[in-house]
């Protein structure tokens, strides 16, 4: 029994030490991105793709519209394939919050989960197929006492370009039934 327990005990203790070390390295990412499922988009039309980001607990990042001019805003830059245009990038409104390091000042920030909407418009002539769209989210994160250098997070999503459906034909109005 003792021979079986010793290696198990050692293994469990090592696992505990390893877990403790993992907490103390502090290499946790402040912002992560989860690629959306492949989105069907119609060529020649605007289509919106929602990109979800998560800011880990304890951190905040400046919004796209920070109040203070020196703060680095969060910004998404896309680098699409040639035949797919990025019409618009829409950011959520930030939240005005004060922090222990500046209790009397409000900073417009994102915390927790937030979504950035990207409006794509494939050209009418683009071949119906799957395309990957790549980009970068630029952000700058802080916690309650310190700020981290501005960073870039790689972003990508896939779209399946389809032919726009043919417009529905409208039947002409029927004449009223004859009386009598």
């Amino acid at each position: 029994m003792k021979k079986k327990i010793s290696p198990i005990l050692c293994g469990l203790m090592l696992a505990g030490v390893a877990a403790g070390q993992d907490f103390s390295t502090g290499k946790r990412q402040s912002v992560t991105f989860e690629p959306p499922p492949i989105t069907a988009v119609y060529r020649g039309r605007p289509n919106t793709v929602e990109l979800q980001f998560r800011i880990n607990s304890g951190y905040h990042i400046n919004s796209n519209q920070p109040k203070q001019e020196y703060l680095r805003k969060t910004e998404l830059k896309m680098d699409p394939p040639t035949d797919i245009a990025i019409e618009k990038v829409s950011y959520p409104a930030g939240e005005d919050r004060s922090f222990p390091f500046a209790p009397e000042e409000k900073i417009n920030v994102y915390t927790g989960d937030f979504a950035v909407n990207v409006t794509v418009r494939p050209l009418k002539t683009v071949l119906p197929a799957k395309y990957a769209v790549h980009g970068t989210l630029k952000y700058q994160a802080c916690d309650n006492a310190a700020c981290y250098p501005p960073k870039q997070l790689a972003v990508s999503f896939e779209v399946k370009v389809l032919k726009a459906p043919a417009p529905k034909k409208r039947n002409p109005a029927q004449s009223p039934p004859p009386h009598g």
């Binding site: 703060l71 390091f101 802080c142 700020c147 981290y148």
Partner: protein, 185 residues
């Protein structure tokens, strides 16, 4: 058979204690503390950087003075809180031999950094930082990061993140008072 549950309980307690220790350590240990921690008690690495008014400034220029070496950036909100304190403390302790030196770890241009410093009424030298200098000081993972250097050029303390004005003043007094001694916490 009677000993088995006892052993399992002991194992669970040991693992819980180790995890709790790891979590507790991570709250009080900044990233890459080992690099900066090795500097404590050692000679502060010398460097030559360009100030916002175009002059070359070396750390060794201030030998004989107690130096508060502050790594900061215009995009760092907590840095803006402590800078006015540094301005006041420079006035108060300057006659006793304190020299505050700000290293801007910024991607902004020199003019922007200069305008920012002017707006903050900074009364001490601001130099444009380089990553290589940050690496000499063990890596600067976040800002503000401040090193306290005694009159003999030895690092007596380093602080990562914003701390209270009283803690800053306490470290300044230690740097002014010490001479070749290591401050232990």
């Amino acid at each position: 058979m009677k000993r088995d549950p006892v052993i399992l309980i002991v194992i669970a307690v040991v693992i819980s204690l180790m995890l709790a220790f790891g979590i507790q350590k991570s709250r009080h240990t900044p990233v890459q503390q080992s690099g900066a921690g090795q500097l404590q008690g050692q000679a502060a690495p010398d460097f030559a950087l360009t100030s916002i008014d175009g002059k070359t400034v070396k750390l060794s220029d201030f030998r004989g003075k107690a130096v508060l070496l502050n790594f900061w950036a215009t995009w760092c909100e907590p840095c803006k809180i402590e800078m006015p304190w540094f301005v006041e403390l420079q006035k108060q302790y300057g006659p006793q031999g304190l020299q505050v030196l700000g290293i801007a770890m910024d991607d902004s241009g020199v003019k922007e950094i200069g305008d920012f410093a002017k707006k903050m009424n900074v009364n001490y030298p601001i130099v444009i930082g380089k990553e290589s200098v940050g690496d000499q000081y063990g890596g600067i993972p976040y800002l503000p990061s401040t090193f306290y250097i005694d009159r003999d050029g030895k690092v007596i303390d380093r602080i990562f993140g914003l701390v209270s004005r009283s803690e800053i003043e306490s470290d300044i007094q230690k740097a002014l008072a010490s001479s070749g001694q290591v401050a232990h916490k």
